[in-house]
Subunit: 198 residues, 2 copies
């Protein structure tokens, strides 16, 4: 049975993105230059945590993570990740707009799912086999899965910045306990791992 | 010159207290049994972080931390801490209502300050001499000092629970960077230490 994990990079005050996420500012105002920095510019120091993010047999992401700030589909847009995305596995994109599968190099195929988180999780688990399923974000998607109690392991990468506004993790997810597993400070992010439940 | 530190116990989603803080539920609904547990019931495992909280030459707290949920003063009320509070130093309580100094055993004297955070900090620094000044809470008071840029070191004790509602740290404090110093998971709290600024 696949475990389900979720990696989220957030500010110290809990924002996964600033306001105004667009193609040129994918993490929003005030956050695009800061939140993803630990992954992009300190790869060695953060190699373990970075490696775990893509260590899954299938991925689920929100449409806004695939293609932020747009209405319908621009079929020219094939994601942020170039010809060979780092997933090397099926990626199920939650959306209200149907779109044909998009197969890229290296084993990554984007499937566009209109049946909500339950359909996405069923399909991801079937695709992952014995490997884990990753809830890849963004915050809205993570919050939906947290609210439904469908995440086993939550990995927070807390960037030492207070943003004050944006899209918040832990919105409308109810109350629950977690169990700390592992923690590590680096200059650009503090890595906190929890299982959900006590 | 005194450094100014602030210890805050918060839930993973950033709440320093639940709703409805009263004398019988000082941390509010859903939080009174959970947030302070690391200090009360795991004293040995958390001895270092617990000891640092009161290692200051003077303290500042909000009136709601001294006496939650009331309007005027009940002069019978002398705080939560019994005859000999753990501060052993002057404690400056922010309030809109004047009250005479309250001297308890062991060197703790509560002074009631009506001139706001600047007056409180001036008096606390004068009293502390070379020792540190502690901003003891609650969240409203911590947020006032954070917004004014008056805290040097922030120590968060993150309890592995998602509360979903209550009084939030980092409300209306603007944007700023921090520098991670130290981090440690224990079963009941993750201790994060930051200096403010980058």
């Amino acid at each position: 049975m696949s475990t389900v994990f979720c990696d989220m990079t957030i500010s110290l005050d809990g924002f996964a993105a600033g306001p105004n996420q667009r193609l040129d500012t994918p993490f929003g105002d005030g956050a695009t230059g800061t939140l993803p920095r630990w992954m992009l510019h300190a790869a060695e120091e953060n190699a373990v945590e970075r490696g775990r993010i893509t260590d899954a047999g299938a991925f689920i992401m929100g449409r806004n993570m695939f293609d932020p700030g747009r209405g319908g589909w621009d079929l020219e847009w094939t994601g942020w990740w170039g010809a060979e995305p780092p997933y090397h596995a099926p990626v199920f994109v939650l959306t209200h707009h149907e779109r044909a599968d998009l197969e890229l190099e290296g084993g990554t195929t984007f499937h566009f799912v209109t049946g909500g988180i339950t359909e996405a999780l069923d399909r991801a688990k079937a695709a992952a086999g014995d490997r884990a399923v990753s809830i890849a974000g963004g915050a809205t998607t993570a919050n939906q899965f947290l609210a439904a109690g469908l995440i086993d392991e939550l990995r927070l990468h807390v960037v030492p910045i207070v943003l004050g506004r944006g899209e918040r993790l832990f919105t409308d997810v109810g109350q629950f306990n977690l169990t700390p597993i592992e923690v590590r400070h680096t200059a650009l992010a503090t890595h906190l791992r929890y299982t959900i439940g006590s």
